[in-house]
């Protein structure tokens, strides 16, 4: 057995070091030979659950699903002790954030890592049952995870009395059937229970009352995959993985897609700059074009500009610049591509994927699409700009049941901020010479201002 040590240079990429896409995934024997399941053995034999929790908290691991909530703190809210009763661990593997393709890599190429990670995390929180909530389209991942689960069961790493430690844990793959909203933690729980994926009110938080009303932890795939390495090598090692680039700890699966030369996904120290992602790893912009704008981590993050490329890609730094790191896989837009069209595409996505539960989201998102389509066709009216700006507030944080609509407003509000002239160019009244720099002319009459879909009649008397 060649258990890698923390000093091994390759171990600076703990999540992906065993990945060889050409060779395919390591199955149980190969995974064990590379040190797999050592962390699970260690926790079952040597650690109390709370000790594992403390390690993860000390490591300052923050959730890799997009929100960046500290995993150790999330875990610390779950009731522990002999009276805690049935608890669940759920892996959010519903990777559907446009522009994100990192969890697919982990699940397809190193399925045993996720299985071991879930068993280790389940031990830490005292869960007896786990579910991997996997999006339905990830058929290869489903097949490989199910095989890994069967092998792990046969190897004594799942099931009853795991490794003779008197603790039992069953793990199942649950595949979804579409709908982006399933990635929202409480909507995911409803979906897993066999209900429509409408989000739930918080509180109570899932840690107290989640799946079937029981204490439940929901963690992202990448987040979970860090756990065995933190167990084996400690919090200080994990913190050192950032190579001093960030206040955040560990590595991050970054990526780049859109108009780049060599789109891809890479594990790098957290805090690596977006410039390094684009220029070094993705080989720069395709066709020698200039970068116009970029989304830091998915459809629900604010656009940033080329001048932001040197920022560290971590939770706090990108937030300070007015966006969010989100999933950390950047999407790049080239100088000759239309921002209005990109935003229209994004809002069409959000409008279609709204669960319809609350009014601002259900009606506001299609309304924004209507106006954006008109502007894209060059048929916008001056009121559209004000109305779009209003929507970014009406659908903003605190106005809706969950984060879907506020997330949808992030690319829109940033596009309006940075590329207002592009929107105005799609509004004929704005491009008349006397209109000056800003658009203030009254409705030209070419098209009535778009009304919200299903708007109530003006008068009912």
């Amino acid at each position: 057995m060649t258990l890698r040590s923390a000093s091994d240079a390759q171990y600076q990429r703990p999540l992906t070091r065993l990945i060889d896409v050409a060779a395919g995934p390591l199955w149980l024997q190969g995974h064990e030979a590379e040190g797999g399941y050592q962390a699970l053995k260690q926790v079952v034999k040597e650690f109390k659950p709370q000790e594992v929790q403390a390690k993860v908290k000390d490591a300052n691991l923050r959730g890799r699903g997009g929100a960046g909530f500290p995993t150790g703190i999330k875990w610390s809210l779950i009731p522990m002790g002999p009276d805690a009763g049935t608890k669940y661990l759920v892996c959010n593997a519903d990777e559907m954030e446009p522009g994100t393709f990192k969890d697919r890599l982990l699940m397809e190429q190193t399925p045993h890592s996720l299985v071991e990670s879930m068993a280790t995390a389940a031990y830490a929180i005292g869960a007896q049952t786990g579910y991997i909530f996997l999006r339905g389209e990830y058929v290869v991942a489903a097949e490989r995870l199910n095989r890994a689960i069967d092998e792990a069961k046969a190897g004594g790493y799942l099931g009853k009395n795991i490794l003779g430690g008197g603790w039992s844990f069953e793990l199942y793959v649950h595949t979804g059937a579409g709908r982006y909203i399933c990635g929202e933690e409480t909507a995911l729980i409803n979906s897993l229970e066999g209900r429509r994926a409408n989000p739930r009110a918080k509180p109570p938080f899932p840690q107290i009352a989640g799946l079937w009303g029981r204490p439940t932890i929901v963690n992202n795939v990448e987040t979970l995959c860090n756990i065995p390495h933190i167990v084996l090598n400690g919090a200080d090692w994990f913190k050192s993985l950032n190579q001093g680039k960030s206040k955040d700890a560990g590595t991050k699966l970054y990526g780049c897609s859109g108009r780049a030369n060599k789109p891809g996904c890479w594990e790098l120290p957290i805090g690596t700059t977006a410039r390094e992602l684009l220029e070094v790893h993705a080989g720069g912009m395709r066709g020698g074009k200039k970068l116009k704008a970029w989304l830091p981590g998915g459809a629900s993050t604010d656009f940033l500009l080329p001048e932001h490329l040197d920022l560290a890609m971590d939770f706090d730094t990108i937030a300070k610049a007015g966006s969010r790191m989100g999933t950390g896989l950047i999407t790049v837009v080239a100088e000759d591509q239309s921002i209005v069209s990109a935003v229209r595409n994004l809002e069409e996505f959000f409008a279609r994927e709204s669960c319809g539960w609350c009014t601002p989201c259900r009606d506001g998102l299609p309304w924004s699409v209507k106006m954006l389509l008109a502007i894209e066709r060059g048929e916008g009216v001056p009121e559209d700009l004000d109305q779009l700006a209003k929507l970014t507030r009406w659908l903003g944080p605190g106005k809706t049941f969950c984060a879907h609509a506020p997330g949808a407003m992030e690319p829109l509000q940033s596009a309006l901020k940075y590329f207002r002239a592009e929107f105005e160019a799609g509004i004929p009244a704005c491009s008349l010479p006397q209109a000056g720099d800003t658009c203030h002319l009254p409705d030209s009459g070419r098209r009535p201002a778009a009304k919200p879909p299903n708007a109530a009649p003006a008068s009912v008397s």
């Binding site: 059937a177 579409g178 066999g194 994926a197 996505f349």
Partner: protein, 171 residues
């Protein structure tokens, strides 16, 4: 390739739907994963769809009974999720990613080529029942945009020029 589209009136009328032994077995297997039968809703709907291509109205009460919930509750679930098909689909379902990364890497051209070659729009099926065309949100393969899935197979990057060769793989 056929240029006509199936009409609503052509929907097959089913009499006396019954779950096959195979479907029942798969549903019972899924029920073993959960403490509450309702949680097997999606698995059960998929068990039927896998074998019949779609989930007919007549199947809903049968599936609901098998997992112990009401038909109305299951209908609510079956109509919420976009990958549960409630109308017949062709032998192969094409799902074209229309999210941002593919939008930036040739989605419009890919969709245009598919529409041209198949002679159908989104939500429609070719009259020879060979293909159904649907949009789908981000397939998580953004490094390979523009992408699409046909049944369980992922393709990307797909140039318009590749389309006829890819379609030719599906009878």
């Amino acid at each position: 390739m056929s240029q006509t589209v199936m009409k609503l009136a052509d929907l097959p009328k089913l009499q006396g739907f019954a779950l096959s032994d195979d479907e029942r077995h798969e549903i019972e297997h899924a029920l073993g994963h959960y403490p509450d039968g309702r949680a097997a809703s999606i698995d059960a709907l998929k068990a039927v769809q896998k074998r019949r291509g779609w989930v007919p109205d007549e199947a809903i009460p049968e599936i609901a009974a098998a997992i112990g919930i009401t038909a109305a509750e299951l209908e609510g679930v079956a109509t919420f999720y976009s990958l549960i098909f409630r109308r017949p689909v062709g032998r192969h379902v094409i799902k074209v990613c229309d999210s941002i990364s593919c939008h930036l890497t040739g989605y419009d051209e890919l969709k245009g080529e598919l529409v041209k070659q198949l002679g159908i729009q989104y939500g429609q099926t070719t009259s020879d029942q060979r293909f159904t065309l649907l949009p789908i949100c981000c397939l998580g393969a953004c490094d390979r945009g523009a992408t699409m899935m046909i049944d369980d197979d992922l393709f990307g990057p797909v140039e318009p020029a590749d389309v006829s060769k890819i379609l030719g793989q599906y009878a």
